[in-house]
């Protein structure tokens, strides 16, 4: 299956084969990253713009390094420093960037659907680096890549996503990717943040954390974004931790080979016990490493790359 999309806007619209093309390409780029010379000329002469209308550090740095490893030129553009605050519309800002011959625009935005809106009128490729509560496709791709790398398969695995699902773009992208690749997805968290409507996407929803993680092969913890929560969603961080935090006692009842994932940044002592974050079953830092390879693959593919066969090894 070769890749022929100009943009990466969401996982929902991708086929399983397309997801696998990205993962296979990422594997080839991961090998490149392990060499003494980590740079390839795949995007030489191309311009990538990191358009971050919502602040982000790790995703922006990951894309920045990925573009550099592909020999692209990269510009970072963040909302605070931009004219967006002076009343310029997103459309005008993006058109200005395109007038500078940007080839790829990587956008993070607090409004769901903003990258879809950009893609409608730009000639440049658009990569969604997280839009509101909608999707964060490269996060799901790197999570899936990590699962595949550690477990050798995705199909048939039991994956539990624990935390704030309602406002999480990571959750939505992971749900689509995992279901398309044949995993069984369970969602768990406070009922206000994990509405039953998510069952219609093909997941199981439960509010019993012990039951949710007992048979899980993968436990993916989502950050409780207290700054984004309306005060009505749950009483306190303390109550969240006591009801849903991944503690050593809870982990002891899980499968011994269950992997612990987290998109970061982690809140030690809130959604995860500090020791667990650093234990051998935690693949949190592998996720970061794999994120770089996945983002190289995505940049490469939206720029016209067809698949892993084209990555010079």
């Amino acid at each position: 299956m070769s890749w022929n999309r100009k943009h990466l806007l969401d996982i929902e619209s991708l086929s399983a084969a397309e997801i696998m093309t990205v993962l296979d390409t990422a594997r080839a780029f991961k090998a490149v990253g392990e060499r003494a010379i980590k740079k390839v000329p795949a995007l030489r002469g191309k311009t990538v713009v990191n358009l971050f209308v919502e602040p982000s550090t790790r995703t922006r740095i990951s894309f920045e390094l990925a573009a550099q490893r592909l020999t692209a030129d990269i510009i970072n553009f963040s909302a605070e420093a931009s004219s967006l605050k002076k009343g310029e519309t997103l459309k005008d800002t993006a058109k200005n960037l395109e007038a500078l011959n940007a080839d790829i625009i990587v956008m993070r935005h607090s409004a769901s659907g903003a990258p879809h809106f950009l893609a409608r009128f730009l000639q440049a490729s658009v990569i969604n680096a997280g839009d509101g509560a909608h999707e964060h496709p490269t996060q799901a791709l790197l999570d899936t890549f990590t699962i595949l790398e550690k477990k050798g398969k995705v199909a048939g695995l039991k994956v539990t996503i624990l935390g704030d699902i309602l406002y999480s773009r990571v959750a939505r992208s992971n749900i689509w990717a995992l279901i398309k690749l044949g995993a069984e997805v369970t969602l768990c968290g406070p009922s206000t943040l994990v509405p039953k409507v998510f069952e219609q996407m093909g997941c199981r929803v439960t509010y019993n954390v012990e039951e949710a993680i007992r048979d899980a092969d993968i436990i993916n913890l989502l950050r409780i974004q207290h700054e984004r929560q309306r005060k009505t969603m749950f009483p306190s961080i303390g109550e969240y931790t006591s009801l849903f935090g991944l503690t050593k006692a809870r982990l002891a009842k899980c499968k011994p080979d269950a992997l612990i994932m987290h998109p970061g940044p982690i809140n030690r002592g809130v959604e995860i016990d500090s020791e667990i974050a650093d234990c051998g079953r935690s693949v949190i830092l592998d996720q970061v490493t794999n994120g770089l390879a996945v983002r190289m693959a995505v940049l490469f593919l939206v720029n016209g790359g067809q698949g892993p066969q084209e990555v010079a090894t």
Partner: protein, 453 residues
């Protein structure tokens, strides 16, 4: 002057339960004769309008429109809005008070009436605010507004949250026999919602606006109508629960009424996932026609309105409510916005769509051509029902001496709506490229043809 003989049309007058091919004579702007009398009484040199093969209805009334003047004339003016209304077949409209400044003072009412007199060829009636600056805190000078000529009050676009204030507004308005209309939205439940809360809001990651955010206020209004004995008209109903509440309240004799807009009984929230998702699911009934159907992307802001498009079940309930008379009025909620205002991220786009020129065809398609109701019953929702609510004794019917406002239309005319062809100053319609059936042929106000398609 202002005399016209409309000949050979199928004359439908819902108020008088009249439906037959007949001539209609307007003399000096008033209905003077119907049937054989008409030609006999007509002056020899009277101007004639041939309506053969067409339906001749009392002039259509749209009691819920935003003409944006004063203060927002980049979106629409009284002149352009009224022209679009005329083109859609409307002889009378009621403009909402959320202008800049709001219509909460006699001076603004006078300004609009004076400008409408000069620039609009149709009747533009004015709705005043319930509260000062439609802020929901203090009563607007309702008596002065009445004296200045408003025919209803509403805080449309906003909703009075304070129940005690709403109660007093109802009691106070009753003194003037002034209809009160309410945009039903509970702010705490709706919060920053931008679309219907359901499967698609979950998938698209957009903040949901639950149906109960409307139903809560509909229920409140029913209780206050009962308490005060003063009628409440619930604007643009969007949910099945609202229809059920109004239906039950009416059975108990409570003075409550409701209206529906064509977009709410045509579309569902699935449209926000894009046309690819909509046509095979909630839009299936359209695909049966085999016509070319338009496409649109996900997160299209031309589908963003308040209240939002809801589920297929809600859509069905609205149609049931229209059919059984629970909802007695159809309005457009014509809400123009500039292209650049809508060309932004979905969260940031203003709510609202234009609607004058698609209102009659969409209503004909979903209610008449679909065999849900007769033309007479459908036209009642555009004529006698709004006229009664607004106490417009001389409009909405063809009784002798009534105002000579007439809409002539072809219920079977097939055409495609193009938003760029709209007469409105704004083009924010979701129905671009949609096949339509039925269209106004001529709009006649006080015996004068003011628009012809």
């Amino acid at each position: 002057m202002n005399s016209l003989l409309v000949t050979g049309g199928r004359l439908i007058d819902p108020a008088n339960r009249f439906d037959a091919v007949a001539d209609l004579l307007i003399l000096n702007g008033k209905i003077a004769a119907i049937g054989a009398d008409a030609a006999a009484k007509a002056p020899k040199d009277v101007q004639k309008f041939d309506a053969k093969g067409l339906v001749v209805s009392p002039g259509l009334i749209d009691l819920h429109v935003h003409l944006r003047e004063p203060g927002q004339s980049a979106k629409e003016t009284i002149a352009t809005g009224a022209a679009s209304a005329a083109r859609g077949g409307f002889t009378s409209v009621v403009c909402m008070p959320n202008t800049t400044p709001a219509i909460d003072n006699a001076g603004t009412v006078a300004l609009i009436r004076e400008r409408a007199e000069r620039e609009a060829k149709i009747n533009v009636f004015v709705a005043g605010a319930i509260t000062k600056n439609i802020a929901g805190e203090e009563l607007a000078p309702i008596g002065s507004l009445k004296q200045a000529g408003v025919i209803a009050i509403t805080d449309d676009g906003h909703c009075v949250q304070n129940n005690e204030l709403m109660r007093r507004a109802l009691e106070y308005a009753k003194m003037f026999d002034l209809p009160l209309m309410d945009h039903c939205q509970d702010y705490s439940l709706v919060s920053d919602g931008v679309m219907h809360e359901g499967y698609w809001s979950a998938v698209l990651g957009l903040r949901g606006w639950p149906a109960s955010g409307e139903e809560m206020i509909v229920a409140r209004n029913i209780m206050l109508a009962e308490l005060t004995g003063s009628p409440v008209h619930c604007q643009h109903m969007s949910s099945a629960g609202s229809v059920q509440l109004i239906r039950e309240a009416k059975k108990r004799g409570i003075p409550i009424s409701g209206e529906a807009c064509p977009h709410h009984f045509t579309l569902t929230d699935t449209v926000l996932a894009g046309s690819e998702k909509y046509w095979p699911t909630d839009g299936k009934s359209f695909t049966a026609s085999g016509q070319n159907l338009p496409t649109w992307p996900s997160y299209d802001t031309n589908f963003k309105m308040n209240p939002p498009l809801r589920s297929a079940r809600d859509r069905e309930a609205l149609i049931e409510g229209l059919v059984d008379g629970t909802l007695e009025i159809i309005s457009s909620d014509h809400a123009p916005h500039c292209g650049y205002e809508k060309e932004v991220e979905f969260d940031y786009a203003p709510f609202g769509i234009i609607g004058f020129e698609t209102e009659l065809p969409l209503s004909l398609m979903h209610l008449y051509h679909n065999k849900m109701m007769s033309l007479t019953d459908l036209l009642a929702k555009f004529t006698v029902a709004p006229a009664r609510l607004l106490r417009l004794k001389n409009k909405g019917h063809f009784s002798l001496g009534a105002d000579g406002d007439v809409t002539v239309f072809d219920p079977d005319f097939e055409w495609t709506f193009r938003r760029d062809d709209s007469t409105s100053k704004s083009k924010n319609s979701p129905f671009d490229g949609w096949p339509m059936k039925g269209r106004a042929s001529a709009t006649i106000v006080a015996g004068q043809v003011v628009s012809q398609n």
